[in-house]
Amino acid sequence: MRNAGLLSGLPLKAALHILDLKQVDLVRFMELCGYSPDQSDLEASWLTIDNWKNAAEYLIKNASGKKDLFFEAGRRSGEFELLGAIEFLPWFLSTPALLIHNIKVILSELDNLLVAHIDYIHFGGCRISFWSNSDEMPPPCYFSFLQGYVLAALELWNCKITGCSGEFENDDTLWVMSFGWEPREFRYRRAMEELLVEPDFFVELFDGLRRFSPSQDKRLNKLIDISEKLRSKAEEKKVTQPVQRSSVSSPNDQYLDLLTPLYDGEIRINRKCEILNANDGALSLLGYSSTDDLCSNYPTLGNLLNRKIDFEDLRKQLRSDRPESRQPFAFEKQDGLMAELLVLLPESMSGSAEENEELSIILRNPSLQPKYSFELGRTRQFLEAIFLNNPAGLQIIDMEGYTIRVNPQLVKMFNLDAHAVVGDGVYNILQDRTLRDIGLSDQLEQALAGDHVILNALRMHNTSKKESPFCNGISHPIIVNVTAYPLKNRSGSVYNVVVSYTDITESYLVQQQLSQIDKLQSIGTLTSGIAHDFNNILGAIVPNADLIIHSAGKSEIIKKKAMAIKTASKRAAALTQQLVSFARETQSDIRTLDMNNCVREAIELIGNAIPKNVSIDFEPDREKLVTRADPLQMQQVLINLIINASDAIPKGGIITIKTHMKQLRSRTTFGGNIIPPGNYVLLSVVDEGIGIPRDVVERVFDPFFTTKEKGRGTGLGLSVVHGIVKSHKGLITISTERNKGTRFDVYLPEA
């Protein structure tokens, strides 16, 4: 009868392993556990709490005064108590069934009158309180020692500790210690193997048992046989060397049964995948009565699975992390029906040398996969939620470039053929040609080597399904920022890489548009500038041609040719005039506007175009400030000034924009321009940046003049600003001081 609950009881067999049964009548003990000698399915026996209570009582009553295992039992108002010595704390922790159902274990340190009380224990952890019956508590170092001792014991039992804590409570009268561990099934096999490495310990354990064995119990006889063998081996070798593992797991070894948890089957195969041995668990999962029976029908693993199995492939698959290797295998049972069983490598065996010739594989009923404790389940949910809901597209790749997982955002972003990318186990991102071409594969290789890699503004584009299941049929380019970072284990080696893709297409396009507008505006300004210079040049050609005509005298040829020069030049002038008119037409859309609104709109527009560490502080005048201007051009002025200011503060900072009404009492000039006295709307853009050097200030408004590196600045920004301000009959002035900052003041006539 199994217990309901997080851990469904303790297998009887486990109890036999754990307890020191030297002191008791084993038969009687077994009876109390609900086991009768004629019961054949010892495997199926699980300790129920009632059984255990009785058995424990029995154990306790029969305990002799020996120090090795000392515990008393008592009953107190419905609660069952076991009293033992504190040294045996770990042993009690290894019997969780004991404690789920309100059996208190109180361990007292006889000398110190210290009492330990196991508050609770479940599949994922436990809590223990300590208090003193005298006035004094032992010092904290005592508890640290105890904590370490318990940890060591738990680790011996192969509990993977996930956390532990210890602190004083209740005004230092109580010490509370708690442990958390990974809620897997108790790894008896591993624990036993550890024990087998120390034969003395093992021999002693079973030696004790020997004294209590009824000869008709074949199981116990087996245990005793084993102990005899070990003892003789130990004596033979005069044990200085631990027993080799290979002798433990050699195919014919009878402890195969002992070493496997009850519900797991184990099969041993050789390089040809021939079945060498199968344990009872495997036999029962597959419906056979003996290994011979199994092997006569299905001599190889391939036979059982009804397909060809390659030893190397199988081993590689079992070692991998990929989801498809976690699928159950379909085994053919004796009755012809199929059993879906998980195939796993035994944990202790991974990486051992003898795996090259023979392999042990575990067969497990998928429904018996350990369930997670509540806390771990919650953590898992939490992490899952983060992975699934992250706005970036996420992808996890393994060391060879195969994709382990992707989140829904990634699937959507690239119109991924998720099945091909993750499920089929064939697609390798490092070999994808389209991704190779854009350099993504190289970056991933770098990440696999341990670097944190960032790729900005990668253009991903694929219209053909055949080329890549990544970017499957997306018809327009997406621009993404890609970050790849390695996941490293404690020893620092990389085991997976997480690739994160952020879609920046929109903001990239906005930036492009802004720069387009910029270019158009500057073409307008340029045209005017060129027209001026051009007209000057023609202005030298035409009158000179004229002079030639006037001094040609009688030479008709000279006159004619000079006329031709004049005509051609005037035609050129007309063309220039057309260009200027055209440029002017596309530029001006003058209307009455409120400067404060204009600034606000520009700030909003500039959004993504400036770095995140730069912020804009707008201090508008309380009054409404009205001027007559082309709103688009005003935006251009603001955007260019802001971008300029943000370039002056590479480490980030604040750009201040102010507006107010300014009355100019006299004519004001700057850089060859002049405005008459009057009322002006003054727009100031201030940064506390690197300032403009003196020799540069004069040239700042020249077209194509830039102090930025090649490719970074067009040099047109400020000349555009200058041109716009001038055409609005305004004035722009600069006030700057090196490393203190720069201030641009734009004066526009008040409307």
Binding site: S528, A531, H532, D533, F534, N535, N536, I537, L538, G539, A540, I541, V542, P543, N544, D546, L547, H550, K566, S569, K570, A573, Q577, V580, R584, T669, G672, N673, I674, S727, K729
Partner: protein, 125 residues
């Protein structure tokens, strides 16, 4: 030639080729021409020399033509001036009501344009 009074024409133009041909043409009308390449030099010159007409480039680099005209007028109140321009947008800054203003010649100008402007300015002398 004697019917023409002796007039001195000041050319304020930063482009030397234009200044050159302008000078040639105006000289061919019978006037004395003096050339300076910027507003400052014009102002300095005018303190010691008299001129009847000034042909001022609107797009001078250091001081705009309109400003030059104003300052010259302060020194020679009866001065007449003509603007030359290669870029018609600059014309917006001109004050057409100023009594010294005698029109604009647009580059590239021909001899007849120059002649008309100068004679217009000097006929009302």
């Amino acid at each position: 030639m004697s019917t023409r009074d002796h007039h001195r024409v000041l050319i304020v133009e930063d482009d030397s080729m234009i200044a050159d041909v302008l000078g040639d043409i105006i000289t061919s009308f019978g006037y004395e021409t003096v050339w300076v390449s910027n507003g400052k030099d014009a102002i300095n010159l005018v303190e010691t020399q008299a001129f009847s007409v000034a042909v001022i480039d609107l797009e001078l680099p250091e001081m705009p033509g309109t400003e030059v005209a104003k300052r010259l007028k302060r020194l020679i109140p009866q001065l007449k001036y003509i603007f030359s321009t290669g870029y018609s947008e600059q014309e917006d800054h001109i004050d057409p009501n100023d009594p010294g203003f005698y029109g604009v010649i647009r580059k590239p100008f021909e001899i007849i344009d120059i002649q008309a402007a100068i004679e217009n300015a000097l006929s009302n002398h």
